[in-house]
């Protein structure tokens, strides 16, 4: 402990520096002015001023997901904190490590309905991994360090520290990271050795296996993706990834089946449905994946690797649960596989791959770009080609464009794909792209957007302009809340209630007002040119690519249906009407 007393605000800044924080995304207000004073008086930590607090959290999420570090947010009390709630919930659902500092009225006013007071710890309790209200400056150093520890260890997530103004102004000694004893939260990383043996044996004996892997591989760090690739290749088994897992296994690999789930490929879902051994690595059997639960992989023995015991047996009962960190578990599995000289059953495997080849031949992602209207799939396929081998990061908003991006852009590495999966937050992509660009100033960062989502957080264009962030916004403009329109078409008798986007801005002029480059096309023949121009321009771009407004996203497993009941295209939809039970699901 140092012997000179400093203010609470200075303690906060010291703790941030001690934790290796480089940048804070924030927005000031009365309750956090002491912290802004401390920021003013130092130059180690950079502050990025967003335009709405929701943007700050998404920016921190983008920063965190693309670097593996903890993203840091600073907002004021009351409305500052409530504006952050959506982002916190988003980070909780997608397991993103965030520390969010919120201002609070002074301790003696708490509970008085004071100006800009709200019960921040009460409001954020269900949407954070943990939260703190610091009532005594003596606890501040410890809480700061513990918050970072909780945010990043185990299953990562958002942590809120609520900071009354008087605590930020009180004087105290600072306790550095090394002197804080963290005995509170120690999740288990190393798996049980017996379970590993049992699992590897089951894997080796499989005749129709599949690896189903998710965001937990990314959470575990780049080493986990390497180990996964190594293990999957050693077995020769097929591998599919969730939306959150894209990049954890190279998309170009011949063992990769594409994404699975509601908008996953035919081959991925049929392989899941027909498999006899399923190895789930860091994925959580989300309802977008399983479809109808009683028809999910009916003949499969299931192994589930997850660091969070509450993910295991939540939706789907598994045969071999393994609690531990993906990288630790895969390392141990690889060792057992090698030491015991396990070999796959090649005869059975050849038959399995032949079956998979038949499913692949259905070519469920085919589309037809012969007409005069731009097809969104074509735009993304071309973008994927044009950025191949480039140092690039992709974020998305939420809707059809998000699903097409997941289907048509291949990701070879982890941490290159940032999307809101669990909460599905429209407005995530633009601020997330800012956060990614701040972390990787020289890389290409593209936000794949829909025109409706874009309007949800477009105040952040001002932030992009201020910091000269060369973010590229690629709007797949279908003049509809396309995903809503698609559900209305398929499930609600084509009653397009309130899903048309009236009075959209002129996106080219919008770009202009923020000093960005605006591009627009409506012609398939111009798509390549506009994408190339967007990529090459040294600065931020909004590209308004006007696409077929009636295009739907296929394949699709309608809610309440099973993997083998998927709709492959528009002609399929009449043949397979959606069930009543399916309609009540989201």
């Amino acid at each position: 402990m140092s012997t000179t007393k400093i203010s609470g605000a200075e303690i906060i800044l010291k703790a941030l520096a001690d934790q290796g924080v480089e940048v804070v995304f924030g927005y000031p207000g009365g309750a956090v002015l002491p912290i802004y004073d401390a920021i003013f008086n130092q130059n180690q930590i950079r502050h990025v001023l967003v335009r709405q607090e929701g943007g700050a959290v998404h920016a921190a999420e983008g920063y965190a997901r693309s670097t593996g570090k903890v993203g840091v947010v600073l907002v004021t009390s009351g409305p500052g904190a409530t504006n952050a709630v959506t982002g916190l919930t988003d980070a909780l659902m997608d397991s993103i490590p965030i520390v969010c500092l919120t201002g609070q009225v002074p301790t003696h006013l708490i509970g008085n309905d004071a100006f800009q007071e709200c019960d921040t710890t009460g409001i954020t309790r269900p949407c954070t991994k943990h939260n703190y209200l610091v009532k005594d400056v003596k606890d501040l150093s410890k809480v700061m360090h513990e918050a970072f520890h909780v945010a990043r260890s185990g299953r990562p997530g958002p942590v809120v520290i609520d900071l009354p103004k008087d605590v930020c102004m009180a004087l105290e000694n600072y306790t550095p990271k090394e002197e804080i004893e963290l005995k509170k939260y120690q999740p288990r990383l190393k798996p049980d050795a017996d379970r590993i043996e049992e699992a590897v044996k089951l894997i080796a004996g499989a005749k129709k296996p599949v690896f189903y892997c998710g965001g937990g591989v990314i959470n575990s760090g780049p080493e986990a993706s390497k180990l996964l690739t190594e293990f999957v290749r050693a077995t020769g088994y097929p591998c599919t990834l969730t939306l959150m897992g894209l990049g954890a296994y190279p998309a170009s690999d011949k063992q990769f089946l594409g994404m699975l789930g509601m908008h996953g490929t035919y081959e991925a879902n049929m392989t899941m449905h027909g498999c006899d051994v399923m190895v789930c690595v860091g994925a959580r059997f989300d309802d977008r994946i399983t479809g109808r639960l009683d028809a999910f992989a009916p003949g499969a023995k299931k192994i589930h690797i997850d660091i969070d015991p509450s993910s295991i047996n939540k939706n789907v009962k598994v045969d071999i649960p393994i609690v531990g960190d993906v990288a630790h578990v895969l390392k141990d599995m690889m060792k057992v596989w090698k030491d015991k000289k396990f070999k796959p059953d090649t005869k059975a495997l050849d038959k399995w791959w032949a079956q998979i080849a038949d499913w692949r031949a259905v070519d469920s992602l085919k589309f037809d770009q012969s007409g005069e209207i731009i097809k969104p799939q074509f735009v993304l396929q071309r973008l994927g080609e044009l950025i191949k081998g480039k140092d690039s990061y992709i974020t998305t908003e939420v809707g059809q464009h998000q699903m097409w991006a997941a289907q048509y852009l291949g990701f070879e590495e982890p941490n290159r794909w940032m999307t809101s999966g669990g909460l599905g937050t429209m407005g995530y992509g633009l601020p997330a792209a800012m956060g990614v660009q701040i972390a990787h100033p020289d890389s290409l960062v593209v936000d794949i957007s829909g025109e409706a989502s874009f309007l949800m957080n477009m105040q952040e264009l001002s932030t992009i302009a201020q910091y000269r962030l060369p973010v590229k916004c690629l709007i797949l403009n279908n003049f509809y809340m396309g995903m809503v329109r698609q559900w209305q078409e398929l499930l609600h008798g084509s009653r397009y209630s309130e899903s048309y986007m009236e009075s959209l801005p002129d996106f080219v002029k919008l770009a202009d007002t923020f000093g960005m480059t605006g591009l627009r096309t409506t012609k398939p023949g111009e798509v390549d040119d506009i994408l190339k121009e967007m990529i090459e321009i040294d600065g931020p771009v909004i590209a308004d690519v006007q696409i077929d407004p009636t295009e739907n996203c296929f394949p699709m497993i309608p809610s309440g249906a099973a993997h083998n009941e998927m709709l492959l295209g528009p002609d399929d939809k009449a043949a397979k009407p959606v069930s009543e039970e399916g309609m009540v699901l989201v």
């Binding site: 309790r125 269900p126 943990h130 209200l133 909780v150 969070d308 015991p309 509450s310 047996n313 939540k314």
Partner: protein, 170 residues
């Protein structure tokens, strides 16, 4: 009904840091995820280390009970979660204060039954008794049912406290 769908009662003991908001975290978890709370008691059990013990009686299918324990285990201020119902024999006790108002035969009868149940009189007026009764939930329910026709006027119950039998601590 298959075993998987069968709903059972479980008594779960939880050791937590006695800090502000910890009870709200536990209760919020139950209400937010739609789990049942049949009874919940909490009190500090280690003043030096500021540890409280929460005893929760809940019900659900096997999968739900497993979820409840895993979700509790995830809360940062929670040190230990243990399922007394699964872990082996344990003792459960609850205390109730039961007010019975009446005169004549009914009053005498209530006193007679109280004696059988080993309930104590902790307050009395010419027209009323307050009985204190300790036992498992079933015994308390039986006593209260018998008091109903005899002028039952008010009940206050503590909820279940529970502990494993034998030498092992939590």
């Amino acid at each position: 009904m298959t075993i998987e769908q069968q709903i059972n009662f479980h008594t779960i003991s939880v050791l937590v840091d006695n800090e502000p908001g910890v009870l709200a975290r536990v209760i919020g978890l139950f209400s937010g995820r739609g789990y049942n709370i049949e009874s919940l008691t909490v009190a500090e059990v280690d003043i030096e280390k500021a540890i409280s013990r929460i005893t929760i009686v809940t019900s659900g299918t096997e999968m739900i009970i497993e979820q409840i324990k895993a979700q509790l285990g995830r809360l940062v201020p929670i040190h230990k979660v243990s399922d007394l119902t699964l872990d082996g024999p344990h003792v459960e006790r609850e205390l109730a204060l039961v007010k019975v108002v009446g005169t004549g035969d009914k009053r005498v009868e209530s006193l007679r039954i109280a004696d059988i149940f080993r309930a104590r009189v902790v307050d009395s007026t010419n027209e009323s008794f307050v009985f204190e009764i300790v036992g498992d939930t079933g015994k308390l329910n039986a006593f209260i049912d018998l008091m109903r026709p005899l002028g039952l006027a008010d009940i206050s119950r503590t909820g279940v406290a529970a502990i494993a039998r034998g030498t092992e601590g939590l």
